[in-house]
């Protein structure tokens, strides 16, 4: 077999990888905002739940999380297909790391902004969404970019719960052909190209937000 014959199966795997990554980044972002905002709540129950969630998912290995959701959870009667499990676990992990990004950016909004909002009698809700968040979200983007790329690389582990992603396809091809050098080089290249795409998307969103907000980074302190 020549390298061109590897392309079709690898592309098929890459599609699964991209699908899992984009889906879990999307769900993970929603979770990150929910948990990150909850972490800043003055209600101890809400912030406590978010704290435990973040602690658990940041403090355990992804591979074990995958195995737990895929092999252990069915034992107590809850089971999902591999793709759902993979997306769920990756979303939860990305959400946990993202929550810290959201919380950090919200806390970095100067106290003076909160005081001004209070003096104008804004509700807590209005202050969060119209004063804090627009300033914080721009500061989150570089860290979210890193998390997105991390998420993509983490998807390789879902091959271990029998999902036919890029890594899984590479393994299968290698088992048949034993052409490790070519196959793994192509696989690396595949991940790298997808990562570049992700970084470009994040850059685009950041530039767009920055222009929409129309305040240069240096000018707000």
């Amino acid at each position: 077999m020549t390298w061109t014959q590897y392309l079709a199966p690898l592309m098929k795997g890459a599609q699964i990888t991209v699908m899992i990554s984009l889906t879990s980044i999307a769900f993970g972002t929603v979770l990150a905002f929910l948990a990150g905002i909850a972490r800043t709540s003055s209600n101890p129950i809400i912030s406590g739940i978010a704290f435990v969630y973040v602690l658990l998912f940041r403090g355990t290995p992804l591979l074990v999380q995958l195995f737990w959701f895929y092999y252990a959870l069915p034992l107590i009667g809850v089971s999902f297909d591999p793709i759902t499990t993979g997306i769920m676990v990756l979303s939860l992990l990305t959400g946990a790391f993202g929550a810290e990004v959201v919380r950090g950016a919200l806390m970095a909004v100067p106290q003076a902004q909160h005081e001004a909002a209070r003096a104008l009698n804004f509700s807590k809700f209005h202050t969060l969404w119209h004063i804090s968040m627009p300033q914080a979200i721009i500061e989150m983007m570089p860290a979210f970019g890193n998390l997105a790329v991390q998420n993509l690389k983490d998807t390789a582990l879902v091959s271990l719960i029998s999902i036919a992603d890029l890594t899984f396809q590479a393994q299968s091809l290698r088992n048949i052909t034993l052409d490790s050098a070519t196959i793994y080089t192509m696989t690396l290249a595949g991940y790298f190209i997808i990562a570049l795409g992700l970084m470009l998307i994040i850059r685009f969103i950041e530039a767009k937000l920055r222009r929409g907000a129309a305040f240069p980074r240096s000018a707000h302190s």
Binding site: A116, A119, L120, K124, Q135, A219
Partner: protein
Amino acid sequence: MTSIIRFQNVTKRFGALTVLDNFNFDVRQGEKVTLIGPSGSGKSTVLRILMTLEPFQEGQLELAGIGYHESHGRGDFKASDRHLHKIRSNVGMVFQSFNLFPHMTVLRNIVEAPVAVLKMKREEAESRAVELLRMVGLLDKKDQYPSQLSGGQQQRVAIARALAMRPRVLLFDEPTSALDPQLVGEVLGVIRNLAQEHDLTMLLVTHEMRFAREVSDRVCFFDKGRIVEQGEPDRFFTNPEQPRTREFLSSVLNG
């Protein structure tokens, strides 16, 4: 004459430090009062308590007849969010560091609160904002962002923003202290014009003694959490009674 602001035996502590100790202070409606004194003397704390940015532990405080502590109020402020909201609807504040919202244009900075809090129609809020910007001489800057303005211009926008909420009491916390000397005059000019408003009650913490003498009905000298001396400005500045006042005035006027 009724008091719009009334502090009765108010005590405010930061941990072990007592900032205000059995503090008593009354302000008449429409009165323009200047608070002066060394830093750490508690004068900014008086404004921050009035704006509900700081709680106090003991005593009673009323603004426009509304008490700050509720009888069964909880938390640091001993009051519900709803009650604090009601208190704040009578007060506005201008900060030393302006605190404009950097992600909003000048116009949006002024319109945001009347629309979101007072539920005013956007067109009405905008036409009032335009009037206020004209008053502070910055109508041509309405579509710019705060970072594009000088400090003096930002502070004039901040004054317009506070006025847009139609406060009965307006608090100025060292409004010119963060400004370059050549920009102080334009901000003082705006405050001077506001002082002509008969019904607006103004409390001003400042180090601009000449300005204090010119615009205020009463000057209060703070030291160590108490008002050491107060009075009508001409008398206060020409013939201070307390030695501590004389000492302070000579240090700031000659220093």
